[in-house]
Symmetry: C2
Subunit: 157 residues, 2 copies
DNA sequence: CATGAAATTGGGTAAAT
DNA sequence: ATTTACCCAATTTCATG
């Protein structure tokens, strides 16, 4: 499961566009179609590529409102009540975090009313003490996991 | 750009697995292969499907450490300095938010040292007053935008 | 449903271990 | 000597009019 330069270049292309033919894919990394295919198969088998998915426009599926919710909970761990949150298609991420809050959610709803409704449901979960919600005003960048390794750091001035 | 039930079912399948043949895809939503193809083409053209991408295992690309960073800034808006943050492949999301912080980042690094280094670079950006970092201890759910609309709300008890 | 393109398979070669 | 990665050519499957 060690990735060489060619693997990383393949991943870099596939993260951007996974619809290319193996011929084109190979061309971009200087490989024949079967060789590219072989590598991609290996990357899939080994789990480096988890899956290939269609990425949807949130507005088009009527979820224009993005928010991050910090939840303070009394207990800890993967309680069944907490896991039930996954049932809401509005909830995209659930993380337990270190810091002044215990659980962090990424949620996407149709409007503020739906967000309010979701929050009220979260409050009803036993053990949930407080929630703080950060409504996203605008998104400047949103992309999936990048294969890139930073070698030259950008200089901010 | 109005989605009917079949469109949503197609999207539901494609969000999970965009490698299926149109024959299989059609089978799952009770459509012929060309019909399924036609719909998917329309969904792509209209932008409902932004793109199809390979989703990578963060650990496999040596970014096992996930964190959310809240940045308080003096100014507002899409300053060039802020946008330079996109150059770091470690940064996956940049949002401006409402609440007790102004910018929210999702970042993924190899280790705490790399996170520290990234944070020190963020501090150097003019206008950045404070950062608060929430290190993710464990991720219970992480998925892309779902096409689903909640009709029956799960009951938490 | 037909045509062309693409994915996939097998055989054979060269380099690295 | 065995493994690994590759290319080429042939076949099957698929996209697409």
């Amino acid at each position: 499961m060690d990735l060489d330069t060619t693997d990383r270049r393949l991943l870099g292309v596939l993260v951007e566009d996974a619809t290319l033919s193996y011929a084109e894919l190979g061309e971009r990394v200087a490989l024949s179609a079967p060789a590219a295919h072989e590598r991609v198969k290996r990357l899939r088998r080994s789990g480096v590529i988890r899956r290939t998915a269609a990425l949807l426009d949130p507005k088009a599926v009527r979820k224009p409102l993005l928010a991050f919710v910090h939840m303070d909970t009394k207990g800890w761990g993967k309680t069944p009540q907490l896991m039930m949150i996954s049932e809401y298609p509005e909830v995209e991420e659930i993380h337990s975090v270190a810091g002044d809050t215990s659980v962090l959610l990424k949620v996407r709803t149709e409007d503020t009313r739906a967000l309010e409704s979701l929050l009220s449901h979260l409050y009803e979960i036993p053990g949930v003490v407080t929630t703080r919600t950060y409504v996203v005003l605008s998104t400047y960048l949103e992309r999936p996991v990048q294969p890139g390794i930073t070698r030259e750091w950008p200089v901010a001035r």
